[in-house]
Amino acid sequence: MKVSDVMIYDISAVFEDETVERAVNIMAGHVISGVPVVDEDMKVVGFITETDIMKASIPSYFSLLQSASFLPDTDQFMKNISRIKDHKVSEYMSKPPIVVKADSPLIYAADLMIRHNIKTIPVVDDENRLIGVVTKMGILKVALEGELK
């Protein structure tokens, strides 16, 4: 089975010079956890997730804590997210992006997701332009049906 068999033919993306707020709006609208970042030619240059934005909004020592309840001042999160909402997504996106081609084996996309612990991979054409996305849920569905070969 190929990526093209399960990919979602949607090219919703955020441009690299658009704001974090726009990226959040796109994720909220589509109810997705991440969105491809593209340049003016719709070539994929990165990927930004809700986790990237959360990480950028919490104090740097947070990763050392086990729970948000240890945070002395939760307002800090609100202040930080308010501070970065107008920043460009290019400051917080993951790059270089992990991408796949539509004719790649689906098992290859599944392997990438497991190794990199990601839920969504942009699907690109030969010119690296966005043509859709493949999601972990999409792969799980066909795996449950025994068709992930």
Partner: protein, 320 residues
């Protein structure tokens, strides 16, 4: 990808089949298959009809809220030939209702006005629209405009597409066509939507001369074709070389006309992309596709084979 369809005011369409429909009376839908939910709005419908003809397209526009998410999910189920690229907004996408009465051969449509579009969302749409143009040959801009926007948004979309050398097909109401005409942004293929009023370029159309003279103005302004619905099941096709009336040899059930305009536009795009005929032939092909659509009550567009069955079921008469 060959086509970009633009639907600024998409809708989740609810079609109900109710026999002997009357106002001010309780009706029950007899079964689930008599109440159908489908993605709608003219540009979206054109994408669906194009997919039936094997033509891939990008569908863009505004979507919002729960209705918007259902619409995009339903659209994805239609075909992998439709790639979606909608801008999500805060307001809810509208729902349109059509009640088809096959006993009395009537169709009653109730269309909602649509959501409020923020300036920033319009900016984002135009940027994505402009980027998508580099991937396509044809742009289809169809349907209504949400009330918070003016006809100027169509002027901008047409001008951007023209600057990039794209061929533009449009089906919309005269209030938008008039503005496009007055601002020098006339699309290449125009199909006025007369469901609300029979007027073109601000003039009420009363007789054949009115239809032809107003359509001629569009041709003189640069359009390659204007096709005008005339006397229910006839159309007037106006091109640079003259004007023709096209009419069916077979009976048309008026309760089956839902979606014929979108099928018409999609079939014209198909013919244009195949490059097999001139503007008159493109209009003729759109007409026979629309005729094929009227054999189905549902909003289901015809296949190429179904269109071919109607290839000789029409009469074309030159009027000037």
């Amino acid at each position: 990808m060959k086509v970009l369809t633009v639907t600024l005011n998409p809708a989740l369409d609810r079609i109900m089949f109710i026999e002997n429909f009357q106002i001010n009376k309780l009706h029950r839908v007899p079964s689930f298959d008599k109440s159908i939910l489908s993605p709608g709005g003219k540009g979206v419908n054109v994408s669906v009809a194009l997919a039936k003809l094997g033509i891939p397209s990008i569908a863009t526009g505004f979507l919002g809220g729960y209705m918007g998410r259902i619409l995009i999910e339903e659209l994805r189920k239609v075909s992998n030939l439709i790639t979606t690229n909608f801008v999500f907004i805060k307001d809810e996408t509208r729902e349109n209702i059509a009640i088809i009465d096959e006993e009395n051969h009537t169709i009653t449509e109730i269309n909602s006005p649509g959501p409020k579009i923020e300036e920033i969302d319009l900016e984002h749409l135009i940027r994505r629209y402009t980027m998508s143009l580099s991937r396509v040959e044809v742009v289809v801009i169809s349907g209504s405009i949400p009330e918070s926007l003016t006809s100027d948004v169509y002027v901008e979309l047409v001008k951007i597409a023209k600057e990039k050398g794209k061929t533009i097909f449009m089906e919309t109401r005269d209030k938008h066509i008039s503005v496009l005409y007055n601002k020098g942004a006339v699309p290449d293929f125009i199909k006025p939507d007369f469901r609300m009023e029979y007027s073109l370029l601000g003039k009420e159309l009363k007789d054949l001369d009115d239809f032809i003279s107003q359509a001629k103005k569009l041709i003189d302004a640069g359009a390659k074709l204007a096709v005008l619905s005339y006397q229910v099941d006839k159309d007037i096709i106006v091109v640079k070389d003259g004007a023709w009336i096209i009419k069916p040899k077979v009976g048309v059930d008026i309760s089956h006309v839902l979606g014929t305009g979108d099928t018409y536009t999609a079939a014209m795009v198909y013919r244009y992309l195949n490059g097999v005929g001139d503007a008159l032939d493109i209009g003729r092909y759109g007409y026979i596709a629309a005729l094929a659509k009227t054999k189905k009550a549902r909003k289901d567009p015809p296949t190429l084979e179904e269109i071919e069955e109607f290839a000789d079921k029409y009469v074309l008469e030159r009027v000037i």
